[in-house]
Point group: C2
Chain length 219, copies 2
DNA sequence: AATCTTTTAGAGTAAACACTCTAGACATAA
DNA sequence: TTATGTCTAGAGTGTTTACTCTAAAAGATT
């Protein structure tokens, strides 16, 4: 593997584990056993590393959010979208943790991210429209627009929500188990729009992700 | 006004304008025309200032989120809750901008914030329960729990969402006009649960906060 | 006046960190 | 061998920033 890719992989790992802010470029180099000079030979600056990681993340998410053109959407499609997106979110979880800071520090990334957001929003609206056409939900265009935006907000804020409100110490206590609560919450957004025909099957899917009663209790 | 209060007011202003990260303690002192030593006489450290500001914020929000015991909830109550909360959010907007960082840096604040969150969530659930008892919405307990949590997430993430996805440059372009979109979004969460009797009046309220078509367009 | 407490000034410091610079190793081709 | 372009090492630097320390001014009390 090229040094450039090794730098990206190590950066992603360290950023996810400790947060972008706490990981210095010297730290990344030391972790790989290379010199800071070498790192800066391959990347113009720290933002360059982050930009490259964003490109990976973007490609991954856009690859997931596609509506099939040859068939109608099915209940399980919804689940696949959510699992795919949440897995991507997990693998690049450092990103939404400090998005505002990252974007403020790099105007080019900011512009790119805005385009990414708009495209995602369109795709999510297309998915809800597909669910509507398949008779799974009943919702107006206005409903769908609101639903899509709220979905974006809940999905992109979920990890931040967990870290602020559920973790007790600095340990990486965010587990896949907690991730499930996010899927449940997104299902909850859509649930009141379900048609009578599909209520049972979708509720059954949602219930699989119901958080344990304990996850909100004080410990 | 005491020096202590002047420090808090100046800190709040500067934090809101520039973000907590960009405002140094020397900066705050210079802005007030006092010495750094003086600032540290009144506050143990920068986190002490933030903690005191959080106490103000917490008191303000909890004062708003109360369910009247002597009467049933009315449609306008919902609006008042939202306006009150969003105004508080605006006045302390630096806080949710960097909440994860603030909490990670101060375990005492983190514990306090978790308690605050839990209390808020209970209060929001109580409000939805009140709306249900008043016949304004029809929702199960499980619906209400999901609704309350999604409401919390959308409300606390709204400014961050705006800064990431709508601002073009570093100028303070977040206006009260954009704030309205947040109120609209929270209404959208609740809308599918409205009873037939109240749909018209609530939709009318929500429509006042409908964002202009332009606010999502590219510029 | 004298003493004690509270408040303020302001120079200074230690640590952190993104990034630079020079020089040398290594590979490839003429 | 020599020349050329690519990659790497590692010491070092300039800046930023939260916070300290000493001493003095201001205020209160007897």
């Amino acid at each position: 593997m090229s040094t450039k890719d090794r730098i990206l992989d190590a950066s992603l790992q360290l950023f996810n584990e400790q947060g972008e802010r706490k990981v210095t470029t010297n730290h990344i180099a030391a972790h790989l056993g290379i010199s800071p000079g070498n790192l800066y030979y391959h990347f113009k600056n720290k933002q360059g590393i982050i930009f490259a990681l964003f490109e990976r993340y973007e490609a991954r998410v856009l690859n997931i959010l596609q509506v099939p053109t040859d068939r109608a959407l099915q209940p399980l499609d919804k689940l696949n979208y959510l699992q795919g997106v949440f897995n991507g979110l997990w693998d690049y979880r450092f990103m939404h943790r400090d998005m505002e800071h990252l974007l403020l520090a790099d105007a080019e990334l900011h512009a790119r991210y805005r385009d990414f957001f708009r495209l995602c929003l369109q795709r999510v609206e297309a998915i809800f429209t597909g669910l509507e056409k398949a008779g799974i939900i009943a919702a107006s265009e206005e409903d769908i627009a609101g639903l899509a935006l709220n979905t974006w907000i809940v999905v992109t804020s979920w990890f931040s929500f967990l870290r602020c409100n559920l973790l007790n110490d600095e340990a990486d206590a965010i587990s896949p188990e907690l991730l499930q609560g996010g899927i449940y919450q997104v299902f909850a957004l859509e649930r009141p729009y379900l048609t009578a025909e599909y209520q049972d099957v979708m509720n059954e899917l949602q219930r699989r992700y119901m958080p344990r009663p304990a996850w909100l209790a004080s410990r």
